[in-house]
């Protein structure tokens, strides 16, 4: 069935009764639920679509007599709002009540389709000409300080006299001078755990092999000898980079414990419990005749089995 159009004549079973002056939509189904019939000057009536028998191009036929329509209560405009005053999406999508189309002339100059395509492509070309040359500088700009060479200098961290007991982790705090880009040189507080190891612990730690340390090019810069009794562990937990501590555990005894995700390591740095993927990272260490401890401050990527040095 066609949709009733505005200005269409309305005919009852006995006579013409007026014309369609408004249509009313159901906000849920988006269908026309009523038409409003303007009865040639004698008021408006709201007529249910159920009373409509047929809709032709200019004519809406009802299957009721005119007396029945006249008997309906007058249409109450205040019970409704126009579709401009309310936000119901797609309300007019399935609607065809406007008689005909409303048109504006299409300018003559716009009728050349080829030229429009050219201009569209031209816009894209200009866009690329602007975008491509700037993309690389932007990328380089925001990447500037991401990679830095390793610092293999020795740092003094304290005196071994601080260590009171064998096989017990002792924390040495030290300040590392850091010069970052344009910033003034700053002292960054860091810490390293140092152990005076008994021979069993040394054996367990070194497993009869000296430990080599490399620079960025893979060259050996230092070797921790397996008979040297001091072991230094980087203060950074190999799980996710928190700082671990030396703690008494109720079943495992004295251990290195990371408070973040509860990784637990024994005095040799081996994993006892928790989520860590590898043992603690040992650092190059040397001790002077007067007992001054020096280390090379290295950091390794956390969360992976292999040691990958990042500073």
């Amino acid at each position: 069935m066609l949709q009733p159009k505005l200005k269409s004549k309305v005919r009852c079973t006995d006579c013409d009764i007026g014309e369609v002056s408004k249509v009313i939509l159901d906000p849920l189904s988006h269908e026309i639920s009523h038409i409003v019939v303007s009865m040639n000057g004698s008021g408006e009536r709201q007529v249910m679509m159920a009373m409509v028998q047929e809709v032709a191009v200019d004519l809406v036929s009802l299957h009721v007599p005119s007396a029945e329509i006249v008997a309906l209560p007058p249409f109450k405009r205040d019970d409704y709002v126009t579709t401009h005053e309310v936000e119901i999406s797609h309300l007019e999508d399935r609607l065809d009540v406007v008689p005909g189309e409303i048109l504006v002339p299409f300018p003559d100059l716009e009728k050349d389709v080829k030229r429009r395509t050219f201009f569209m492509n031209f816009t894209h070309v200009i866009g690329f000409l602007i975008g491509l040359p700037i993309a690389y500088p932007i990328l380089r700009f925001i990447m500037k300080p991401m990679y830095a060479p390793f610092d293999n200098g020795w740092i003094q961290v304290g005196n071994v006299s601080k260590i009171k007991q064998d096989d017990v982790g002792t924390q040495f705090q030290y300040n590392k001078k850091v010069k970052e880009a344009y910033m003034p040189e700053a002292d960054v507080e860091k810490s390293v755990w140092i152990l005076k190891a008994s021979s069993e612990v040394l054996e367990k730690f070194y497993e009869d092999k000296d430990q080599d340390f490399h620079d960025a090019s893979g060259k050996v810069i230092w070797t921790n000898k397996k008979e040297f009794p001091y072991i230094a562990f980087s203060g950074k937990c190999p799980h996710l980079g928190c700082a671990f501590k030396w703690r008494k555990h109720k079943t495992l005894g004295q251990v290195f414990l990371c408070p973040c995700h509860l990784s637990i390591y024994d005095a040799t740095g081996k994993i006892l419990d928790g989520p860590a993927p590898r043992a603690l990272d040992a650092l190059p260490i040397r001790v002077s005749a007067s007992g001054e401890v020096e280390i090379i401050d290295m950091e390794f990527k956390a969360g992976i089995k292999n040691q990958i040095r990042i500073i």
């Binding site: 906000p27 849920l28 189904s29 405009r77 205040d78 709002v81 126009t82 401009h84 005053e85 309310v86 936000e87 119901i88 999406s89 797609h90 925001i142 990447m143 500037k144 300080p145 991401m146 990679y147 830095a148 705090q173 850091v178 970052e180 880009a181 910033m183 003034p184 700053a186 960054v188 507080e189 860091k190 810490s191 203060g235 950074k236 799980h239 996710l240 980079g241 928190c242 700082a243 408070p259 973040c260 995700h261 509860l262 928790g274 989520p275 860590a276 993927p277 590898r278 950091e299 990527k301 956390a302 969360g303 992976i304 089995k305 990042i310 500073i311």
Partner: protein, 370 residues
């Protein structure tokens, strides 16, 4: 809206100004369109969270801009300038506290908003795009939280960032690049602070405003979903407009959130820890409370080792988000009643239970660390 019956001559100055603007920009029609949005089945308290989130964002923007009057994003001044805001600037403690607790409120309301949409089945066709943009907004809110708490440059800030960035590092192939990009170098420092600052105050707000605008637009195009049960007649009979009943409920909700945040800012003021350094001293690093469950989750044995690490830090959150993204595309059953969607209901209860249990257990775990 009543149809203007007689064209009254404007009398007061305000009416004249309104008429002047109305004639040029169609003010009254815009207002009518904004306010006259039918809400199928009528206004509800369950629908307040979207408006509340918009309100919280507005307040975060306001307090955030104010904080920038004094805050300096440099490694040597960030901590001191934040302390200055807290201790010396008039009402600095309040505005900073409001911004701090506002972020928590944002997370709570985002979870509530997402839960409501999920339980009501409102993500289902034709509202898939609305749901997707909502998920992007959820990501932005998490990004705000993560970048925001580095800015005071205290111990909490430093360790949350260290751990968070190490997790990003676990992304296959690009992880190292992403982590270095975020840090602006091999370790957290000035470049990290600069980057997080720009992301927090420029990139994320711009992204949030754009996507929230799109979210609202898509919401208006798709129209509210309405209740998940009831016949069309019942729903139609209870339908009202956005204004006044829903707006009233939204306003009450906003007032409650505002008072709660003010109360928290007043009774639980922000106290900075020691200034950030790679040596935490006696401090046990811990993230913000809304990340605690995840922090505790990463302590599980099942996430141990390199592969477990990848599963916990990367695969789990990515899979979870992917599942949420895919949700409206594989859940095509038009049934919206949550009591007739047992899998959805059980999943939601399960996720909430995991969050609750792991949050509580991380709090209990604190005792064993001291």
């Amino acid at each position: 809206m009543q149809q203007p019956t007689v064209s009254n001559e404007p009398s007061t100055t305000i009416e004249k100004i309104v008429d002047f603007l109305d004639a040029r920009v169609g003010l009254k029609e815009i207002q009518a369109k904004m306010l006259n949005e039918p809400i199928p089945g009528g206004s509800r308290w369950a629908y307040v969270f979207g408006s509340i989130l918009l309100f919280i964002f507005g307040m975060q923007a306001l307090t955030g801009i104010l904080l920038m009057f004094y805050y300096v994003p440099t490694a040597d001044h960030a901590y001191a300038s934040t302390q200055y805001i807290i201790h010396d600037v008039d009402y600095g403690w309040f505005l900073l506290g409001y911004h701090f607790w506002g972020s928590s409120a944002m997370v709570v309301c985002v979870i509530a908003h997402m839960s409501q949409v999920f339980l009501w089945g409102a993500y289902k066709p034709p509202r898939e795009l609305l749901w997707l943009v909502g998920l992007a907004l959820f990501g932005i809110v998490i990004g705000f939280g993560f970048t925001g708490y580095l800015l005071p440059w205290d111990q909490r800030a430093y360790w949350a960032t260290t751990v968070g960035v190490e997790m990003v590092d676990k992304v296959p192939l690009f992880g190292d690049f992403l982590a270095r990009f975020l840090k602006g170098g091999p370790t957290p420092g000035q470049m990290t602070l600069s980057r997080f600052f720009v992301i927090h105050v420029m990139i994320l707000p711009a992204a949030l405003m754009a996507l929230a605008g799109l979210h609202l637009f898509l919401f208006r195009v798709a129209a509210p979903a309405g209740p998940f049960q009831g016949t069309p007649e019942e729903i139609k009979a209870k339908t009202d407009y956005f204004f006044p009943r829903q707006i009233w409920k939204d306003m009450v909700g906003m007032a409650a959130v505002f008072l709660t945040i003010c109360g928290l800012a007043f009774w639980e003021p922000v106290v900075l820890l020691e200034e950030a350094t790679p040596d935490p001293g006696e401090y046990h690093p811990e993230p913000e409370w809304y990340f605690l469950f995840y922090f505790q989750l990463l302590r599980l044995k099942m996430f141990a080792g390199e592969f477990g690490q990848f599963m916990g830090a990367v695969a789990l959150p990515v899979l979870f988000m992917a599942l949420l993204v895919a949700l409206p595309f594989f859940d095509k059953d038009p049934e919206r009643n949550i009591f007739k969607r047992p899998v959805a209901l059980i999943s939601w209860i399960f996720i909430m239970a995991v969050i609750a249990i792991f949050t509580v257990s991380s709090v209990i775990n604190r005792e064993f660390l001291d």
